[in-house]
Every structure is written in C-alpha cells, then in structure tokens.
Symmetry: C2
Subunit: 346 residues, 2 copies
C-alpha cells in the first residue's frame, strides 16, 4: 500500500536540493548577524520531531562552534511565569507549523531581553517567524503525513547550513551540495527495511540506541516507531543505557542500533556485543558491513558521508523501517491514533 | 521479602535530616562563591539517576533564579575533543560515586576555562570532588542497592539547599527543615504501592507522565521501574506526550501520572481525561483526592509541601511502586540484571 508518509519520505532528496540552493543566501544573512552578535551559548525551544532536530544542534554547534546548546524548558515561560535570562544567547525556535504557543513564548521572551532570535520553520508567514528577528524557512512544501519526515531532514539541513555559513568554508558547502545524493542513496534501504520489519513484527518493546551525532537519530527513529507502529521504543545513548536501562536487555526486548561510521564506533561495537550476549534481537543501522552482520536484520546507511552531516541520510532507513513496521503490524502509517498534524501546547 | 532497596528507601527521612542540618554551612559557603561569580547560565553533567536530579535543577534554578540549566553533552569532551565554552557558567557535576570519567571530564574542562565548578557527590574523597573547586557532599551514607533512592532525594535536597542559601531567606530554610517529616509521610504509601503493583503486575509497557517540577520525578520513577521491574517505562512531559507518543495511548499501555498539586494541575487533569477516554490503566500519584479517583490505582503524595520541594517526597511513592512491582512480577529488586553499583562511562 502506498501511503502519504512513504511519498514524503521519497521527496527528501528534492526538498534538500531546493533548500541548499535556494536558501544559501538566507543562511549567510543569518550567519552574519550571529557572528556579529557572538553568542556565549544557545537555547533551542522545540517539541516532538523538532526537539530531536535540536538534539542534532547540540552536537553540531558543540563540535563545530564550541557552544553549549540548552534545550529550553518551555513551562518556565508558560506555567511558572519565570522566563530565564538569555541576554547573551542565540535563541532558536523550531516548529514545522510555526504555531505552537510554548515555542513562540520562549522566542518572545528572548527577543524582549535582547537575545538574538531565529525561527526555523516550514511557514515563513507563521507567528513563530513573526516573533523572531531572523527566519530560516526550510522549504519542505506542505507536509500532509502526521508523522514528520521531510521537515525533520530539512530542519537538520537548515541547521547545518547555518553552521557552514557561520564558519564560511568552501568544504562544508561542497559537502552540503552532495547531501541530496546521499539521501537518495539512503532510500535504497526500503527493501531491507521491509525485511527487518517482517523479522521484528512481533516485538512491542524496543530500545533505540545511538551516540554523539546519532543520538538525535536514535530519538527520531524511536519517535517515528511510536507514532506509526504502536510499539514502545525508548531512545538512549550508549552511555546512558549502561546507567540503568541495561537491566532490561534480554530476549524479548528488541533493539535498533543506530551506528553509521563515526567517532562513536568503539562504543557502538561494545553495545552490539552486549545485545548479542544478552540475546536481544537487534536491527543494525550502519554502513559498516562487519557491524551489520551482528544484528538479526540490517538497515544500510549510505557510505562516505562526513560525520557532521551523517544524521541526515542516516535517519532515512529508520523512517523506512518505522513505516514498514507499521504495515507489517497491520496498521496504516498515515493514521496514528488521535494525533493531529499541528499540535498546540502551552 | 525485605530487601536492601526497601531498607534504603526507609532511610530517606534520616538522611535528609542529617544533610539539612549538617551541611547548611557548606551550602552557604558554596552559595557565597556562586553569588560572587554571578553566573550567566548553568551546565550540569550527570548520568542516570543523577541526570534526573539535573532535570530538577532545570526547573528549580529556572523558577527561583531565572537561570537556564543546560544538560551537558559529555561526548563533546570525551569523544569529539571539543569541550564547549563555559567561561561564564556555573558548571555542576553530579555523581553518587564521584567516579564516572565523563562527568569528571566536563568539570575539568569547565575549571580549566575559568568557570565556577561544583561537585555534588556522596563521596567527598572522590576524583569528581577533587576535580571541582567546590563540593557539596550529600551525606547519604553507603548506598548498597544498585537502584539509587536515598542518593537521589539527597541530591535534590542539596540542590534545594544551594538555592535556599543563594537566595538566603528564612522561609526556604524553614521549609527545608520540614522536609524529613514530609518524606516520612510519603512512606505511608507503601500499602497503596503494593495494591497498585498487584493491579498492574501484568503490564510490561508504561508511560510515566509529569510536567514542570514533576518532570524529573516522572523520569526517575520510569528509571526505577526499568531498573528493577523489567518493564519498559518511558517518561514524557504532558506537552511532549501530545507531540507524537499520544498515538500509543490505549488499553494495553499502562501509565503512571505524577501529579502532586502544583502549577501544572490543569495539564494533569487534561492528561487524566485523555488516559480515561482511551482506556489506559493509570496509576495516579497525587495528594488531590478527586484526581486520585480517576486512575485504576493511586499512590498518595504527602499534602501541603511547597511546590519547589515537592519532587523530593513525591518520588518516594514512585520508588515504593517500582519496588512492589518488581516483587509482584517475581523479581528481586536487589538484583537488576547485569547492572553494577558504579558505572564508569566515557
């Protein structure tokens, strides 16, 4: 069965190609303002899928700009009337619709204090875009599926473009222009995703594990699985797993190991060994053949993607897996129970 | 069956009483240094249970001191060799053992940069205490159970003491001195916890829901359940629930609603209604009788605790529930599978 969700997963190379070419100037404009402001640190307000994009920003701006990115606690603004001081911070609001009141309230508080504020949204006419001083539109076109896919990868790309324009190096932009082809390559995982879903269709409890640049990917794959496939899938870093949740690992608890080649390789291998030793059925998402062989199923990630951009193609096999798992479990991935496309929370 | 874990849960009033009286001067010394440093923002490095204490700090220092608390991304220091700039931050490391290399590495990086660094630990002779400029020992005594309980509430109390000394008001200290009695009162939930565990003993998938001051409590109760009771229990704020995971809510998915009286009451009521309408079996942890009646089981929280301290007694019925659920499922809560007391991660 072809779904709206599947169609939007397939649109991702085209969306990214449009974004990287058409919004390059906007990224440079925003970066010039950011450079002049010279933030001491960053705050990002976001919910759901957009919050997972914020997790990518934590490692991206940490590694490439040596900045700490705090995930905002919106209830400070909306429930406790205590907006924290953000005067020396770059404050970013991420929302596909640009309409969630909690995200807008953090941006409004930051702007009032004199922080530099930036909206990343799919709707440049939204209240969020109006509330922020700067706006980077993600150019994803209308997203009809309730589960966000193309707006997630486009948001990650917008953050990466801001970083590339901020550093202003040729190499980064060359790598960004190669991104649509890498995401196209990642779509080849569709067949493997169906096999993995068939193999794991009886599982209802998953851990989804990743670290460093792939911590965000683990969160986003887990969210897609919860939204569409009616399975409880909880994300952890390889390190956090060892501080408690490891007690759950045994036959009967499935796992998705998100481990494209990168600086966390050694941790990923130790985690694969742990899953094997304890008999947990693992799906391994990687471009490393020797690691892929250690799971009961594999999701191929495209090879030779620079690590700072790798979360963008790496999430695609995970999206395909969540979609296939929903169908293997007899569900329609276009109809998550009781979820609307636009969620307004305070 | 009496367990080490249960014995340590019972020790909590005595630990808190000792901490609040014996370490008041240490809290004032640390607060004087913090006030003189005048941080722009805060960073906390922690793992597992200590990371949940950091989530309490996010709301505590946000509401009472208007500061943003960023949870550190240790892999920036340990895997990517890119310690972020923290020059104007108060950097806190929380670790029961004081020995996890990742937490120490963040403190070391902060201190080298000239940030003010503080260790909160159960071992003032630990490497973490040595790495930080300031130390607040939590005075919990040896913790033998693998699942941390008394060190969690003592860490929360140490953070609250820092806040009280920083503000330096009589009212806060009066409330802190009343805390051991409130925790004593919370222990009366033991019978209800056994009933709730008996009622839910067949459930293997839980959402654990809380917001604002109780977001940390939801995380910590979920972690105790995963560590001891072999159930997958994922924590969400009431708001994050609506951005995706709500698709899972139906009969067959159980829930724990953490909702002592507070500013998030209206959100808690909406969430209770949602759980009822969708037929999810909910255990309700609250001091509000009308809300308690809306679950299939209840965990009484002690009444009349000021909201800023309420997460300390509120976690206790959750600890008792996790312990009882493990026993109801035929497990020994003192022996989580493959978990050691001290976990060293990079």
């Amino acid at each position: 069965m072809r779904t709206v969700l599947f169609a939007e997963i397939l649109q991702q190379p085209a969306v990214l190609s449009r974004l990287v070419t058409q919004r390059r100037a906007a990224a440079f404009d925003a970066a010039a303002r950011v450079r002049a402001f010279d933030p001491e640190w960053m705050v990002i307000a976001a919910r759901g899928t957009s919050d997972n994009a914020a997790r990518y920003a934590q490692i991206l701006f940490g590694v490439r700009h040596r900045l700490t990115v705090a995930l905002a606690v919106p209830s400070l603004c909306t429930i406790y009337d205590s907006a924290p001081r953000m005067r020396r911070a770059l404050v970013i609001g991420i929302s596909q619709s640009g309409r969630s009141p909690d995200v807008i309230s953090v941006i409004a508080a930051g702007r009032q204090q004199g922080a530099l504020t930036l909206a990343i949204t799919n709707d440049p006419g939204s209240p969020l875009a109006a509330a922020a001083e700067l706006c980077l539109p993600i150019e994803a076109g209308e997203e009809r599926a309730v589960a966000a896919t193309k707006t997630y990868t486009a948001t990650l790309a917008a953050l990466a473009m801001l970083s590339a324009a901020w550093i202003d190096d040729r190499e980064s932009w060359g790598q960004l222009h190669a991104l649509p082809a890498a995401v196209e390559g990642a779509l080849a995982a569709a067949g493997d995703a169906e096999e993995a879903a068939h193999r794991l269709r009886g599982a209802e409890r998953f851990l989804v594990l990743g670290r460093g640049y792939q911590y965000a990917t683990a969160h986003e794959v887990a969210l897609k699985m919860k939204e569409t496939a009616d399975v409880l899938a909880e994300p952890f870093s390889f390190a956090d797993l060892m501080h408690g949740p490891v007690a759950l690992v045994k036959p009967g608890l499935a796992a998705v190991l998100v481990a494209p080649r990168g600086r966390a390789d050694a941790d990923a291998e130790r985690t694969a060994t742990l899953l094997e030793e304890r008999g947990s059925a693992a799906v391994v998402l990687t471009d490393r053949p020797e690691l892929a062989r250690r799971g009961v199923a594999r999701l191929p990630a495209p090879p030779e993607v620079p690590e700072w951009l790798s979360p963008i193609p790496a999430v695609v096999p995970g999206q395909l897996f969540a979609h296939a798992l929903a169908q293997a479990r007899g569900l329609n991935p276009d109809q998550p129970r009781g979820l609307q496309k636009v969620t307004l929370t305070r």
